[in-house]
């Protein structure tokens, strides 16, 4: 005999009041219902509605209908595989409850009710200001009455995402500044100024990304914020490192005397050290300072003379404030490298003197005794095989020759490129 397979159902009580709650109640309910179903046709996969005059609508969805059981009989068996019920909300919206309605209070207002059991709110009654939600589930939710106030007393409209507020302070529309590129990220005025300061150049609309590092007499940096277009980078650390930022008022470094110029190099570097103690920012070598001065003054300084400028500054610098202490430490650690720089300079000059003498001899052999007497050795760079000489302007033309041919030939003969020292 074929077993009597049950009709498999899903029962939906979501629109039915007084739904059974315990197993006993459900079994009793089903006994009553199954007698009403006798003679009713059921179709596989179809949802059948049973209307009750008092309690509403009960829906029965047939999940599986055994063959030959299209109509419910007295001996038909049922298997209920799922019961859909309205969720039992433990947290009801306080506002809806006050209005005699029931809705899920998914959010809580910390200012309502007690601190241990704050009032719950539904989607309709919750206020979550812009920036009040984080993706890890944390929410800054309130009810309409407890929307946080701005410092000015007005109703807040957003939580500031800036570095000072960190979404802990809410601000009103008047204090709202939009992120320059993200239309839905807002900051308060202070955080915005910190993150996106305006360029100090008049009529410049760009964000300042640099500041002036010129050190004034009091030892403080100028600090004017400027955009990358308007800041001048004084490349004292070489072409591959970030040079000192100088604003339009302090970029005329040529106006400074030698001592003040060297002071700027050391003081600005010391300030960088103070701002970032782990940085490896060091003072430039004497050879680099030679190049810096050459660019600024348009004349070449001897390495010993430059060293003396640093020695004088070291003698003048005390240990009164943090800047002076940092400068002093920087100059002390630099002293060893300076003496190496001086020694290197002497050695290079020694290597250059025979080259220079060969040049002089060549000039005399050419019958240019006047030039040979006037030419003076300035510097020699063995790595680049370049000889720097000083010669009065009026004699240079003859030595250069047409299209620089003569000086090139001389260079090939002495075995080094010949350059005139700048500023002579």
């Amino acid at each position: 005999m074929r077993p009597n397979l049950p009709i498999e159902l899903e029962v939906d009580f979501r629109d039915f009041r007084n739904a059974p709650d315990t197993p006993e109640e459900f079994v009793a309910f089903w006994e009553r219902l199954s007698t009403q179903l006798v003679g009713k046709p059921l179709r596989d996969g179809v949802t059948h509605e049973v209307e009750h005059p008092r309690d509403g609508v009960l829906r029965l969805t047939v999940l599986a209908l055994p063959p030959g059981q299209g109509v419910v009989g007295r001996d038909t068996t049922f298997a209920v595989h799922s019961v859909l019920e309205r969720p039992r909300y433990r947290h009801l919206c306080a506002r809806c409850s006050a209005a005699g309605q029931q809705s899920h209070g998914a959010y809580s207002c910390p200012a309502c009710g007690g601190a241990s059991r704050p009032d719950r709110l539904c989607d309709r009654h919750v206020v979550i200001l812009n920036g009040g939600m984080r993706l890890d589930g944390r929410l800054n939710a309130t009810c309409e009455e407890h929307v946080p106030a701005c410092r000015c007393g007005g109703r807040a409209s957003f939580w500031c995402a800036g570095p000072r507020c960190r979404r802990a302070s809410a601000w009103c529309e008047r204090h709202r500044r939009q992120h320059p590129n993200a239309p839905d990220v807002f900051y308060c005025v202070d955080c915005y100024e910190e993150l996106f300061p305006a360029c100090a150049q008049p009529r410049c609309a760009f964000t300042a990304t640099a500041f002036c590092e010129f050190v004034g007499d009091g030892g403080a940096s100028c600090g004017r914020r400027m955009c990358s277009k308007h800041i001048l980078r004084w490349q004292i650390y070489g072409p591959h490192k970030m040079g000192l930022g100088l604003c339009d008022q302090h970029r005329q470094v040529g106006r400074l005397d030698d001592d003040r110029l060297v002071f700027q190099l050391v003081a600005a570097t010391a300030n960088r050290k103070l701002r970032a103690p782990r940085s490896r920012q060091d003072l430039p070598s004497l050879q680099s300072v030679h190049h810096i001065l050459l660019k600024v003054r348009q004349r070449a300084y001897g390495i010993p003379a430059i060293d003396q400028l640093f020695v004088r500054l070291e003698q003048r610098t005390g240990r009164a404030g943090p800047l002076e202490r940092a400068m002093s430490e920087l100059l002390q650690s630099h002293a060893r490298f300076r003496s190496q720089n001086v020694a290197r300079d002497v050695a290079e000059k020694q290597q250059g003197l025979p080259v220079f003498e060969r040049l002089r001899a060549l000039l005399r052999a050419k019958g240019w005794g006047e030039i040979a007497d006037a030419v003076v050795f300035s510097d020699y760079k063995p790595a680049a095989k370049t000889l720097y000489i000083r010669l009065p302007q009026e004699l240079r033309g003859r030595m250069i020759g047409k299209g620089g041919r003569t000086i090139q030939e001389l260079g090939q003969q002495v075995g080094a490129k010949i350059n005139f020292e700048k500023g002579e």
């Binding site: 049950p6 498999e8 899903e10 979501r14 709650d21 315990t22 197993p23 459900f26 079994v27 089903w30 199954s34 999940l63 599986a64 001996d75 038909t76 068996t77 049922f78 298997a79 209920v80 595989h81 799922s82 019961v83 859909l84 019920e85 969720p87 039992r88 909300y89 433990r90 947290h91 899920h104 998914a106 959010y107 989607d123 979550i128 939600m133 984080r134 993706l135 890890d136 589930g137 929410l139 993200a182 839905d184 990220v185």
Partner: protein, 428 residues
């Protein structure tokens, strides 16, 4: 008369089984095959995958997988349709492959990747939120179990999921306080602002909206395309059991704890990179749950295997509601339990394909994968291979799990400690 009554029961679920079509001009082959009239009438329909012209999907439509019998019928249909589809693709000059089976080394894997999309219907926003949050909590474990590493001529590459490793369209989901349309809109805005993600459907777990904007079903996007249908069935069963668990908790308005998003991201990355070999970081930084290998010296990590077994063990009540048989859950638990006992059990399809490749060294990856699709009985699945390789311990494991699934669970108290109101009285 009432023979069975499950208060917290399953919901409708659809499976969209993805297959890759390989061959010259796979788009044309897909078009040709889908243009033909299917010889096999039934509930399964073959469709093209949007934005993936080389993929064919076998769609079950929303169906109830509430009993062993219902699942058996559906998967029999699915197996028939898959075999027929493989024949049609072969006739059109192509090869039907599961995800991440590449005939050659060195090329891009994009044209060889596809997923198995599971969709689970939800009946209210609270249920949706609870289910999404539960899936989020267990996401690394689920990815480790379902991830498919690439199978090339040199065998199965190391890694968990080749598809998720390459994808820019899959991101870890966020905790949902609610799944109401208003809150989902807020989450979308927040995602756009904080992560630059403009849509919810880029998340691994996507609460898909219905006509009124509230979530109508939850789409599980993280699941790689599996090679063997018994694994798909085990995964479908697991996701449905998790849904029942979420439904049970949602009825009492519990939405699960919000896991730390950074920890989740790290664990997800571990699962994608290492699969079942991954070790997951415990959120609190305290002692992790002791696993079969004993507590770790640091105590902060637990293995993917331990996490998977713990998850399935926690779902005993739900598996009983689904009237699950051992054969159905074996692809998930047998290999992991064997490993726990010290045997080199095959834990997932990566291990299975690795073994098949070793057993048939002269056979290319395409041929190996084709055998799995066209004659699954001959190729065998995780259960068969594990029972063949480790006969005695596998028999013990079977006994233990059969006993586990048969033993009735006591009515659990509601999460807030109130007396249980569930009734689960099997009278038939």
């Amino acid at each position: 008369m009432l023979t069975r009554l499950y208060r917290h029961g399953p919901s409708r679920q659809s499976i969209s089984k993805g297959y890759v079509v390989a061959g010259p001009a796979p788009e044309n082959i897909v078009r040709q095959v889908l243009g033909e009239r299917a010889a096999r009438p039934g509930p399964i329909t073959a469709r093209a995958a949007p934005h993936q012209p080389h993929v064919i999907r076998l769609e079950t439509g929303m169906t109830s997988l509430h009993t062993f019998r219902a699942r058996e019928a559906l998967f029999k249909e699915l197996a028939g349709s898959a075999a027929e589809l493989a024949e049609r693709v072969a006739r059109a000059g192509g090869t039907l492959l599961p995800c991440a089976v590449g005939p050659a080394d060195g090329g891009p894997w994009g044209p060889y990747l596809c997923d198995d999309l599971h969709r689970v219907q939800t009946s209210d926003p609270l249920e949706t939120a609870a289910y999404c949050n539960l899936l989020r909590l267990e996401l690394p474990t689920l990815i480790a179990a379902s991830g498919r590493a690439a199978l090339g001529p040199r065998g199965v590459q190391s890694g968990g999921s080749r598809r998720l490793a390459e994808s820019t369209q899959h991101h870890p989901p966020h905790y949902l306080v609610s799944a109401s349309p208003e809150h989902l809109a807020r989450v979308t805005r927040c995602m756009q602002r904080d992560e630059g993600l403009p849509r919810l459907d880029l998340l691994d777990v996507y609460p898909a909206p219905g006509d009124d904007g509230s979530a109508a079903f939850v789409e599980l996007r993280f699941n790689d395309g599996q090679a063997v249908l018994s694994t798909v069935r085990a995964q479908a069963l697991l996701y449905q059991a998790m849904f029942i668990c979420a439904r049970r908790w949602a009825r009492d308005e519990h939405l699960f704890q919000p896991a730390d998003h950074r920890v989740l991201q790290r664990n997800r990355s571990r699962a994608v990179a290492e699969g079942m070999q991954a070790r997951f970081e415990s959120e609190k930084g305290g002692a992790g749950e002791p696993d079969g290998d004993g507590p770790r010296p640091g105590g902060r990590y637990r293995t993917a295997r331990s996490a998977l077994l713990t998850l399935v063990e926690k779902l005993r009540y739900e598996l009983q509601v689904l009237e699950a048989e051992y054969e159905e859950v074996a692809p998930l638990v047998l290999g992991a339990t064997l490993r726990r006992l010290g045997h080199a059990g095959l834990q997932n399809e990566n291990d299975l394909l690795r073994t098949l490749h070793r057993q048939r060294p002269g056979e290319g990856p395409t041929r190996t994968a084709e055998t799995l699709l066209r004659s699954p009985a001959a190729a065998g699945d995780l259960l068969r291979w594990n029972e063949q390789l480790f006969a005695a311990p596998a028999a013990e494991v079977r006994d233990w799990w059969e006993q586990f699934l048969r033993t009735p669970v006591e009515q659990r108290p509601a999460p807030d400690g109130r007396a249980a109101t569930n009734f689960n009285t099997s009278r038939g």
